[in-house]
Amino acid sequence: MSGQKSNLETLHAIEDFLYQEASFLDRPDLDAWLELYTEDGVYWMPAIVDQKDALNHISLMYDDRVMMEIRKRNFVHPRAASKDYTVRASHIISNVRIRKMNEPTGDCTVTSNFQCISYYLDKQTLFAGTYIHELVKQTVGYRIRHKRVNLINCDGVLGTIIIYL
């Protein structure tokens, strides 16, 4: 019984962490969001289903910490024409499942479904897909080593993706 309870507590803590990440992107608060990533953290939005790598095939986004730092600065730059508009989002995350768990360390791989309604240029756009988070357990909570965003229409005709989803 206690094992089951502990699993549920872990799942709950992970869900809470994913919601926290999403809420930073909802506002958006890229300073706070970036702090959730490890120093070797990566954010990847592939351009095809089951994309094997980001180096030999085009991606919509593929940022390490350096690119995240640049993007964070670009996002608030007063002369960034495409950012001269209100950007807000509402993320719903569901179907959270732990796929891999390193019992000794607590590091884990978690999949979830997401729907993100993005408000940009006076228009609401619906993005949907699956997240795959590789999480690193901290003394308190988690940090993200790798986040993969599988859009269901990643290989379709898309408009501007103005911010991380």
Partner: protein
């Protein structure tokens, strides 16, 4: 409104363009017939149809077409339409259709070169005047299609000049792209991005060699990159991104020095001796493969021919030094799709494709920090030009000082020669048959 030829002629002056060229759906329809129906339009690269039955499907202007390789290895460009009731025969962007095309509706079947071969339950056609061998019931071939070093173009105009003549001196840049491979050949690799643009298709191509915009439009990403790079400890490893992003903030003087070269039929390029891609580091393994293939002198010649963007008016723009291309597909007067494709230099180390992929992602992706800023400017133009406050868009920069070098005009890299070349072709296509 409907336009007669003198009215069309009035829309483009030597240094001014009437706003309706960007905003009037009737002009868009005319452009689809007279420019996109007459010019050579980029279809795809032969490497996209490697085997018998391989196809890609797309629209040439408003019309669905398919590029397919037949059993003997020849590549055809056919209208994607069943000879029976007009159903599109393939409806995926790419695939393999086996030994021929079969319609999903009534099962009419065609050879890979489009010839109709099978009509189910043929008894009903006896004595009706229908003849399966009448070419009108086959899939129709484009009036002309041809390939230049693997790049396949097609035109709906049987009287258009041949492809090589049409490419003219601008073909040097396609050569340079292929010559950058130690084997002299490139192939499509690493997928495609399809980016919807809420603007007239011409705004995208007019931006390519508009060198007065990067230091303004792309200042934000250059600042952000330089700002962060300056926080890194001295001796931090050089990042490829740091070679790709900051040159977008190059000065007026730098861009002026690159020069613009314009050709007949609206083609042009920026650069030649130098461009914003000129200072990329060279992978020693790549350089060695090139020298082995071409010798040191020819290698130097190939690698120092540095152009920025080259436009093959109206549909294709290439970056030979980067090995990527963008293709514009018009949808409506205020909507187009821009495709970004990357190329592998055959015989070159993987690092070369990886830099190309990084470039396409950093600069051209829907999620990049460069392309979306350009698009914002186009979208604002599209809205601003609705206003009757003034009817004209201007392109005076360095007007009157173009240098005529026979098959080409040259001028300062910050001149509007690129745009004037496009509109010389626009007038020619819109007002008469181009011969």
């Amino acid at each position: 409104m409907n336009y007669n030829n003198p009215e069309v002629a009035d829309l483009v002056r030597p240094t001014q363009i009437h706003r309706s060229v960007y905003t009037d759906p009737a002009i868009f329809e005319l452009e689809m017939q007279r420019i996109w129906g007459r010019a050579w339009i980029f279809i795809g690269h032969e490497s996209q149809v490697p085997e018998s039955g391989s196809f890609i499907s797309l629209k040439l202007g408003k019309y669905p077409v398919v590029m397919v390789r037949d059993q003997v290895g020849k590549v055809h460009v056919l209208f994607n339409r069943c000879g029976h009731k007009g159903t599109k025969l393939v409806d995926k962007p790419c695939g393999n259709t086996g030994g021929g095309f079969t319609c999903c509706y009534h099962g009419w079947s065609y050879r890979l070169d489009g010839k109709l071969v099978g009509v189910p339950h043929p008894a009903g056609y006896k004595d009706t005047g229908f003849d399966k061998n009448d070419p009108q019931y086959s899939m129709q071939k484009l009036a002309q299609y041809d390939s230049y070093r693997g790049f396949v173009f097609a035109t709906m105009d049987a009287s258009a000049p041949d492809l090589k003549t049409w490419l003219g001196g601008a073909g040097d840049v396609l050569d340079n792209l292929c010559d950058r491979s130690p084997e002299g050949e490139v192939e499509v690799a690493g997928g495609v991005l399809r980016y919807e643009h809420e603007c007239n298709w011409k705004m995208f191509i007019e931006n390519l060699n508009d060198t007065m915009h990067p230091m303004i439009v792309h200042k934000s990403v250059v600042d952000a990159a330089n700002d962060y790079i300056s926080t890194l400890p001295e001796g931090s490893p050089q990042r490829t991104e740091a070679e790709i992003i900051p040159p977008f903030g190059a000065s007026y003087k730098n861009f002026e020095a690159t020069g613009i070269t314009g050709f007949r039929y609206g083609h042009h390029y920026d650069g030649g001796k130098s461009s914003i891609h000129a200072d990329y580091s060279v992978d020693p393994e790549y350089e060695a493969a090139m020298i082995k293939a071409y010798g040191p002198e020819r290698t130097r010649e190939i690698l120092t021919f540095n152009t920025h963007n080259t436009l093959y008016y109206p549909s294709l723009t290439i970056k030979s030094a980067v090995q990527n291309i963008r293709v514009v597909r018009p949808i409506a007067v205020d909507k187009c799709i821009v495709e970004t494709w990357s190329f592998r230099l055959k015989g070159a180390p993987d690092s070369m494709l990886q830099r190309t992929i990084m470039y396409s992602r950093l600069i051209n992706s829907n999620g990049s920090m460069v392309g979306p800023d350009d698009l914002t400017a186009y979208r604002r133009m599209q809205e601003g030009l609705q206003s009757p406050a003034s009817d004209w868009v201007e392109m005076h920069r360095n007007y009157g000082s173009d240098v005529d070098k026979g098959d080409r005009l040259t001028n300062s890299g910050t001149s509007d020669l690129d745009m004037r070349s496009e509109y010389a072709a626009w007038r020619e296509y819109m007002l008469s048959k181009v011969a």
